[in-house]
Amino acid sequence: MELPVPVEYYLALSAVLFMTGVAGVLARRNVIVIFMSIELMLNSANLALVTFSARLGDPAGQILVFFVMAVAAAEAAVGLGIVIALFRNRQTVLVNEMNILKW
């Protein structure tokens, strides 16, 4: 069964969203925005997985997206917990002012 929109378009959109997330991680200093950029990258990878799943007629891609969502939920919870703990100690959310792991 042929998809109504070519697979390349979905994958190109996925690439654009992924690189938007990469640019956000590299350019921003606010750690919460960096987390959001990571979520953007996870979502674009999910979009690519669903596209391939539909193209190949294989449900394994959609199952993997399901697990990625579960891991993303855990990651967001742990990451935001770390942000709260850091903010309590340093009163900042800017990554260039967080240097407690620096030697």
Binding site: M1, V5, L11, L13, A15, L56, Q62, A73, G81, V83
Partner: protein, 167 residues
């Protein structure tokens, strides 16, 4: 241009614009709201790819749960005035945009140069709750149970990390 293509390009356009706005807004609350718009667009695209269950899960888990968690944390932190969060356009940002743009050009060049492989055949009911649940609880049952352990570990970890030291 048939309906599916117009739908795809409209949704993709909104997704890209909201993604870019997410990483460029100064106020993180605005970033969260644009990211929710982005997640809704991706859920709509899932519908066009025969992934109805994942579209619903995307809205419930991502736009519902995870982004509300982000909003809660932003409000909990009480970030103060926006001037303190201002970030200037320096050389670092130019490098970031240039690097990601270069990789993007490479990715898209590869995408449109390669010949697509043979398409598979989607069984009737592909992507519904029934078919996904069937493979989730038969073939991928062990992974599914492992996910529950992962979520429990995350739960305990967050409590340990974010708890106030009492003594």
């Amino acid at each position: 241009m048939d309906f599916e293509r117009i739908f795809f390009f409209a949704t993709a356009g909104v997704a890209v614009v909201s993604g870019i706005l997410t990483i460029t807004r100064r106020n993180p609350v605005q970033s969260v709201l644009f990211l929710i718009v982005n997640f809704f667009c991706i859920a709509l695209l899932y519908l066009g790819l025969n992934a109805q269950f994942l579209a619903i899960i995307q809205i419930l888990v991502y736009a519902g749960a995870i982004m509300v968690l982000f909003l809660f944390v932003i409000m909990l932190l009480n970030l103060g005035n926006e001037e303190a969060l201002a970030e200037k356009w320096g050389g670092r940002k130019l490098v970031a945009v240039a690097l990601s743009g270069a990789v993007l050009v490479q990715l898209i060049a590869i995408l449109f140069r390669e010949e697509p492989g043979t398409a598979g055949w989607m069984s009737p009911g592909f992507g519904t709750v029934e078919s996904l649940g069937d493979s989730l609880f038969r073939r991928y049952l062990l992974q599914f149970e492992a996910t529950s352990v992962l979520l429990l570990a995350a739960l305990v970890g967050v409590i340990v990390i974010a708890k106030k030291k009492t003594n």
